[in-house]
């Protein structure tokens, strides 16, 4: 009798689970869709603001086109993937007159005030193909000049495009913020940035 129950009655009772399954999929069939329908809809900016895209520079509050960066190379040393290239600015080349003046001053035994190299980097190249988005550069930046961008819509069609000049990007962003109507749409710009 037990075998009969196990092999005949029980499977018939268990068939109810099949109907329950149909009921669930049927219920969800009638419910509204939950996917974001990309070209027509976009992800809400709240979610986007926490998205960690590629690394970007932060401009000075008063001069948004110049980064806070002081070319200390902490990011370059600590980057595990070696994806950042920072070139320090050189001191402006003295003109012939200045050079002559300094020479004369030195010969006279005076202390010469040569202009120092600006702290801002001359070049800040970021290779996205190598980056693992670990954020080590951001934490170790003493000037707090780096952050993750929210640039979710960025596409590149070649490897060369994945190498971003972050200084140029910052300038483009600054120009866009100051004159949004006239600013030419920069290559890496996206809806996300316009809000920023």
């Amino acid at each position: 009798m037990n075998t009969f129950r196990k092999h005949v009655i029980q499977p018939i009772i268990d068939c109810w689970s099949l109907i329950v399954g149909l009921k669930i999929t049927g219920k969800y069939f009638c419910k509204p869709l939950i996917t974001v329908h990309y070209p027509r809809e976009v992800i809400d900016s709240e979610n986007l603001s926490t998205y960690g895209g590629h690394v970007e520079l932060i401009g000075k509050p008063k001069d948004p086109a110049t980064p806070k960066c002081i070319s200390c190379m902490m990011c370059v040393t600590n980057c595990p993937s070696g994806c950042l290239t920072v070139v320090k600015s050189k001191a402006p080349k003295p003109t012939a007159d200045q050079e002559a003046a300094w020479k004369a001053a030195e010969e006279a035994g005076e202390k010469v005030e040569k202009p120092k190299a600006p702290k801002n980097p001359a070049k800040f190249i970021y290779d996205y193909t190598k980056c693992s988005l670990c954020g080590t550069c951001i934490e170790n930046c003493p000037a707090k000049s780096l952050r993750f961008s929210n640039n979710i819509y960025w596409v590149a069609t070649s490897r060369a495009e994945m190498k971003i000049d972050l200084l140029a990007r910052l300038k483009g962003q600054a120009a866009e913020v100051s004159a949004p109507a006239h600013a030419p749409k920069s290559e890496a710009s996206a809806p996300a940035e316009k809000e920023a």
Partner: protein, 390 residues
């Protein structure tokens, strides 16, 4: 038979030829993978089939080997952390924790209480995403297309939550030696608090749609027996071991961090079959939520910040010595062993991947089953191939 089987070049590679040597008459040697829908990436299994019955099976590894251990010897101590996010995309937080824990042990760093609680919350949330990913993919292996979409619906919410404190959605590498990369904001805690009741409501739906389904039950019950004895022989841990009736969980057996403060159960099943492992994982999701709830309650009164004061820089130099730290990952015991010679880079990093031991039990468990069962057993082991190959 035909020209292609007789030609020397096309006889198959080393593994096939080696396998061919012991072939019985009238059987078929079949390469399942490396490109096969149910091997989840690039696992290759050479099987000898008698009709549809598996006579022998042998996993062939190495198609996704990325030398993580060797990379550890060239990266700085801090620079190796992103690698931990890539070892196992299913549950990267556990790997992060195991590595950071080992280095902290080596350097004698005391992690602040708040950081520990945040680590617990994030790792448990990540365990939920890991189990949801497995759940959906496993049912997909068994032929149902819809449940994975429902699972990803919930998983997506978890990813949105985890995106806030980690800035990434899959390969998290937000653990740092001595704490975490960023603090968790209030909005994130709110989202977690909202997610848990939502997910509790979803679990019965999963149960009705899949767990109770007659077809699924018949597919996974009493196949792929991996009992206690086998687990011991192969070193299986995690849900595979708990599915065999051993209540072994690193969180309870050798409590690390603050896990000794939480009240949670270790779900076990005695059936030792695929269904047992399935049910253990489903029950674990509930336990993870319990831990998260308790951790969130403890959070406001926790001491310290999200990272220890004067946290070591990425180019730290731990004292000469060695340390082993293990945590409970989504797939089992994740262990990291580090040796320092006092320099900026580790002398040796050894990763103990639970999936590797779990997979090795597959050949024995699958022998004598149907090929469809072999797929069901493979799925029930919850394999993440990058973790196995490392």
């Amino acid at each position: 038979m035909s020209a292609y089987q007789n030609s020397e070049q096309m006889k198959g590679d080393f593994y096939t030829q080696k396998f061919e040597a012991g072939k019985r008459d009238g059987t078929l040697i079949l390469n399942m993978g490396p490109q096969h829908p149910s091997t989840h990436g690039v696992l290759r299994i050479v099987v000898e089939l008698d009709g549809e019955y598996v006579v022998r099976a042998e996993p062939v590894l190495g198609y996704l080997h990325r030398m993580h251990e060797k990379m550890g010897e060239t990266q700085t101590w801090g620079g190796f952390i992103p690698n931990m996010g890539r070892v196992d995309y299913g549950h990267p937080m556990a790997w992060n924790w195991a590595y950071c824990g080992a280095v902290e042990k080596l350097m004698g760093i005391e992690v602040p209480e708040r950081a520990e609680l945040l680590r617990v919350i994030m790792t448990e949330l990540n365990r939920l995403t890991s189990h949801l990913l497995w759940w959906g993919a496993y049912i997909l292996d068994l032929g149902a297309f819809t449940p994975i979409m429902y699972a990803f619906d919930d998983r997506e919410m978890l990813l949105d939550i985890l995106q806030r404190p980690t800035a990434s959605r899959l390969t998290y590498s937000n653990f740092r030696v001595g704490g975490l990369q960023m603090d968790v904001d209030d909005k994130c805690i709110e989202m977690i608090k909202a997610f848990i009741p939502h997910f509790r409501k979803r679990l019965p739906m999963y149960k009705d749609l899949v767990t109770d389904n007659l077809i699924l039950r018949r597919r996974i019950e009493d196949i792929g027996i991996i009992d206690q004895d086998m687990c011991r022989r192969y070193g299986c841990t995690g849900p595979v071991l708990r599915g065999a009736g051993v209540a072994y969980d690193v969180r309870r057996a050798e409590p690390y961090s603050v896990y000794d403060r939480f009240d949670f159960e270790i779900p076990t099943q005695t059936s030792a079959c695929s269904a047992g492992r399935y049910l253990v994982r489903v029950a674990e999701m509930e336990q993870s939520m319990r831990i998260i709830e308790q951790a969130i309650e403890m959070l406001p009164s926790a001491q310290g910040g999200y990272i220890v004061d004067k946290a070591p820089k990425p180019a730290m130099k731990p004292p000469v010595g060695e340390a082993y730290f293990c945590v409970e990952g989504g797939r089992g015991k994740v262990g990291v062993y580090v040796v320092s010679d006092g320099s900026k880079t580790p002398y040796r990093v050894k990763l103990r991947a639970p999936g590797f031991s779990n997979l090795s039990a597959f050949a024995e468990a699958a022998t004598g089953t149907l090929i469809a069962d072999a797929v069901a057993i493979l799925g029930s082991l919850d394999l993440i191939i990058p973790e196995i190959d490392r």
